[in-house]
């Protein structure tokens, strides 16, 4: 993707505080992958840490296959369902600011409700992850922060010219951040092993 083009909008913020936000996916079942870097206008950067698809009105779905053997044909046979379900995802805020003033710490304000969200293109991911200062925020955020951090580093590595070198640097940074938690460190390192 050309960096001049604005990437496609994938969701809209529906709840936010300074350190995290929840967004609704534009398309059902199309939340960005775990660990991917997203941005609002502003921009505020965040890493996707969880996602779910559920009923819009708190109704409880009941399993109801009637001959369909895959999800797509089930949704096609029940076209109203797309209107009754929504996919939302949570993201941990990891930085903010334009490239000249890019900061790998929390912004002064939460992301505005209804702010459109875009998936960061590869060059943006590479630029943001040049500094690994955001890892500290990620490791202390979500319940599944180790999984999120590992997924984030795996995805970010692909944006760098030498993914292996990036992951080695990231491993060293993790060792610095988790000096007293060898088991946790090992678990993350296993997940990002090139």
């Amino acid at each position: 993707m050309n960096s001049k083009e604005s990437p496609e909008i994938i969701g809209q913020v529906v709840a936010a505080d300074i350190a995290s936000f929840t967004a609704q996916s534009i398309e059902l079942h199309r939340a960005p992958p775990l660990g991917s870097l997203v941005q609002t206008d502003g921009p505020i950067y965040a890493v996707v840490c969880d996602a779910r698809t559920e009923s819009v009105e708190g109704r409880r779905p009941v399993a109801h296959l009637s001959g369909e053997t895959d999800l797509q044909s089930f949704l096609d046979a029940n076209p109203h369902l797309r209107h009754l379900l929504r996919t939302t995802f949570d993201a941990v805020v990891v930085g903010h600011g334009e490239s000249a003033t890019l900061r790998h710490y929390l912004p002064p304000h939460p992301a505005p409700i209804f702010a459109p969200l875009r998936l960061c293109p590869q060059e943006e991911v590479a630029r943001f992850s040049e500094s690994l200062d955001f890892l500290k925020l990620l490791l202390s955020a979500a319940d599944n922060s180790d999984e999120v951090a590992a997924a984030c580093l795996r995805l970010a590595s692909a944006a760098h010219p030498d993914p292996r070198a990036f992951l080695l640097t990231a491993g060293k940074e993790l060792a610095r951040l988790l000096p007293n938690e060898p088991q946790r460190l090992t678990a993350i390192l296993r997940r990002i092993r090139p």
Binding site: V62, S66, D76, H80, H83
Partner: protein, 417 residues
């Protein structure tokens, strides 16, 4: 807590034996009612004559052409079809509120099944606060005004539901078989006879439901559209009453006489002769007759009071109906499907209604999915009602008016104990 449950519990204890008694009574009467239905199945003309000559207060049902005990399996479901439905809910005028207004919320659904699946689910609120929409003034009597609240507002909502369905049917351009559905009955119930004049008659009937039904009739002549309203677990008993007339001994007496309930040949304190087949509703009869997914014969309602709304104003749209048993695989229910007579007389449309309703029941786990979703779109829940009240108050306050609630309203919201 002001409801004394201990006292209530004692009264509930008396309910169980009565329920058992009723069930036993129904079980005993059902075989005889079925015998009566079978006995008259091939004599539709004699049955019609007997019904027409009868003097009774009961509402009756006359089969439109099929035997009274007939059952029909559903025709195959078309691969592609469209389901339309509309439903409404309302917040009534509250005289304790600082503003006189009512709110209608109309839900609508269009679902297309088949190779190009799509759905449109939406709701549209309508807030009325202007005098001319709140009060219907009678042009022929300056002192006569009808406030659109209570039963009149409920009737207006029913009118809006049919109007919305007519609009959806007008916009439907797929050319596919189309099911147009309403919840409940097609007739505007709950209006007192004295209310049906002047502006009320004009707004609700002439330019309301009758015009919308006229439009739907024209559309149904141009497109493959079938219109019906669906009543789950219905309480109607016209067919059961008809069977009572069918076994009345008066026409067999010497000399034979027409059925006349004022001359019932019962002994004092004894049951009526027709009680032997007397079911409390049509439901048990059709539960015994219909297999899963089947429909009954199409009936028209007869013996309506000359002053009833249906008799006076519905003319060509008078109600026909059939009973339907939900298909296998979903909760068992006997439903009543009401339609204007011009649908009931059209064999093809009746077949279309039948098969599409069965498919909708299958999709909606025992209740037509399109109506269920239209209802979900329309319904105004408790928290939404409260939010609406607050918004109204905020608007009034913003204009600098007092929102002082009535004493009664205040007493409900702020008690000191």
């Amino acid at each position: 807590m002001t409801l004394d449950f201990q006292r209530l519990a004692k009264q509930l204890d008396d309910l169980a034996p009565r329920l058992r008694e009723q069930a036993e009574e129904g079980r005993a009467r059902l075989p005889q009612a079925l015998d009566a239905a079978r006995a008259w199945a091939d004599r539709p003309d004699s049955l019609r004559e007997r019904l027409n000559a009868a003097s009774t207060s009961w509402l009756l049902a006359e089969p439109l052409g099929e035997p009274i005990d007939a059952t029909f399996p559903a025709p195959p479901v078309p691969d592609e079809y469209v389901a339309l439905a509309s439903d409404g809910s309302h917040v009534d005028v509250d005289r304790h509120s600082p503003v006189s207004c009512y709110l209608l919320n109309m839900g609508r659904v269009r679902i297309r099944y088949g190779s190009q699946p799509e759905a449109d689910l939406a709701s549209q609120p309508e807030l009325a606060f202007e005098d001319e929409r709140l009060v219907l003034s009678d042009r022929s009597d300056a002192s006569h005004e009808d406030v659109l609240s209570g039963n009149l507002l409920a009737a207006l909502r029913s009118v809006r539901e049919v109007e919305l369905l007519a609009r959806l049917a007008t916009e439907e351009d797929s050319g596919l078989p189309t099911l147009a559905l309403l919840d409940g009955t097609l007739v505007l119930w709950g209006l007192a006879r004295r209310e049906l004049r002047g502006e009320v008659k004009r707004v609700l009937l002439d330019e309301g439901i009758i015009r919308a039904l006229d439009d739907l009739k024209t559309l149904a002549g141009q497109k493959p559209i079938a219109l019906a309203s669906y009543i789950s677990h219905p309480g109607g008993s016209e067919v059961a009453h008809t069977l009572r007339l069918a076994v009345c001994p008066l026409p067999q007496a010497q000399p034979p006489r027409p059925v006349d309930c004022r001359r019932c040949p019962r002994e004092a304190d004894e049951p009526r002769p027709c009680d032997a087949v007397g079911l409390t509703s049509d439901r048990p009869l059709f539960r015994a007759l219909l297999g899963p997914g089947q429909r009954s014969a199409v009936f028209r309602r007869t013996n309506l009071e000359p002053t009833s709304i249906e008799k006076q104003f519905y003319s060509q749209h008078s109600v026909a109906f059939f009973y339907l048993r939900t298909p296998d695989g979903v909760p068992d229910d006997i439903a009543r499907v009401e339609m204007p007579l011009w649908i009931g007389q059209d064999e093809q449309k009746v077949g279309l209604l039948h098969t599409l309703l069965i498919d909708q029941c299958r999709r909606g786990l025992g209740y037509p999915l399109a109506i269920m979703e239209a209802h979900e779109q329309a319904v105004i829940g408790g928290p939404e009602r409260e939010a609406f009240r607050r918004l109204l108050e905020a608007q009034v306050t913003a204009e600098g008016f007092s929102t002082a609630p009535s004493g009664k309203d205040l007493s409900k919201r702020a008690r000191w104990l």
